[in-house]
């Protein structure tokens, strides 16, 4: 399946992919927040969320801001 992760297309040869597996596989840190198709996903739900072909993920972490 093809997933857009932070704007880049990534291929996963998996029948089923959970959000927590994707984050682990791509080595994202713990202090991130995730939006799936522009909707916020609670950290406690990562293991319950199925990722599907065409999904768009935004994975954000703290940066400088004004």
């Amino acid at each position: 399946m093809r997933i857009s992760v932070n704007g880049e297309i990534k291929e996963f040869n998996r029948e089923r992919l959970m959000l927590n597996e994707l984050l682990e596989e791509m080595q994202f840190g713990k202090g991130v927040a995730v939006a799936l198709n522009e909707t916020f996903v609670l950290r406690t739900n990562y293991a319950k969320i199925d990722i599907n072909d065409g999904d768009r993920l935004d994975i954000l972490s703290p940066v400088q801001g004004g």
Binding site: N6, G29, L60, G65
Partner: protein
């Protein structure tokens, strides 16, 4: 030491602070200068943001470690959002990452001057207040917009002085003055456009409760020194407001006593 009224704590969104200066964490020449400028400014509220993390960046986040070490209250923003939905999602992500229900809500309506979109701002504010956020809306200096935001539960309003990063100071002091007059019980912060400490003094002398700025310190030739300059400016402006400035006059009025002035004689 004489205690002025201004030495009392300032309360905003349920928390107490000594400083009325809120400062941004962006655009500094280095993380070290950022840290020292924040310390020199005396600010206890620092704005931060969220951006996409690169895959593989599992290690610590040096920027975030510095901010945590400073022990300040963080105010996450929704910078870069152009719709209410984007801003709401970003706010929820920020609440989880930064562990705070405070949000500096920005919904940009125009790319040229980064003017906030008042309609989307009200829409997002309503949703976020219902979700339990303490919304500090970045807004234009529009009185009716201020009323709408107050009506839906905002207790802090943050009208712009002038466009973000422009350093143009207060474009329309009259509008700010009217908002102050109409909302005596809300916390009012001038957010954006401050260029010099004298702009901050002006905002505080209008009776604003605080000032939020970033570029004015970060882009100064000496950011740490400018941070300190703003510390004094905000404090000075507040003291001036509380002390109550004299009325302007058209004619001069001597300050030295006129009784007993020498060289005047009846024979002259």
């Amino acid at each position: 030491m004489i205690n002025s009224k201004s030495n009392k704590k300032w309360k905003i969104e349920g928390k107490e602070f000594d400083s009325r200066l809120m400062i941004g964490s962006a655009l500094y020449p280095s993380p070290e200068i950022m840290k020292n400028a924040i310390i020199a400014s005396g600010s206890q509220i620092v704005t931060v943001a969220l951006r996409r993390q690169s895959a593989g960046e599992q290690g610590a986040n040096p920027f975030w470690e510095i901010i945590k070490e400073l022990g300040v209250t963080v105010l996450p923003n929704t910078a870069g959002c152009h719709t209410a939905k984007e801003a709401i999602t970003t706010a929820m992500m920020a609440r989880e990452v930064f562990q705070t229900d405070w949000i500096k809500l920005e919904v940009i309506g125009n790319q040229y001057n980064l003017q906030p979109d008042p309609f989307a701002l009200v829409e997002a504010t309503k949703v976020l207040i219902d979700e339990g956020f303490r919304v500090l809306p970045y807004m234009t200096d529009d009185l009716v917009l201020a009323q709408r935001l107050a009506d839906i539960g905002c207790t802090t309003l943050m009208p712009w002085g002038s466009p973000i990063g422009s350093g143009r100071g207060l474009m329309n002091p009259y509008n700010l003055k009217v908002i102050r007059k109409q909302f005596p019980n809300l916390n009012l912060i001038v957010d954006a456009g401050i260029g010099k400490p004298s702009d901050a003094v002006e905002a505080m002398e209008l009776g604003f409760d605080g000032v939020l700025l970033n570029s004015a310190v970060a882009l100064a030739q000496e950011p740490v020194m400018m941070g300190e300059a703003f510390k004094y400016a905000v404090h000075s402006g507040r003291l001036s407001y509380e002390a109550g400035a004299m009325q302007k006059r058209d004619m001069a009025s001597p300050s030295t006593p006129t009784v007993g002035t020498p060289f005047w004689h009846q024979f002259a």
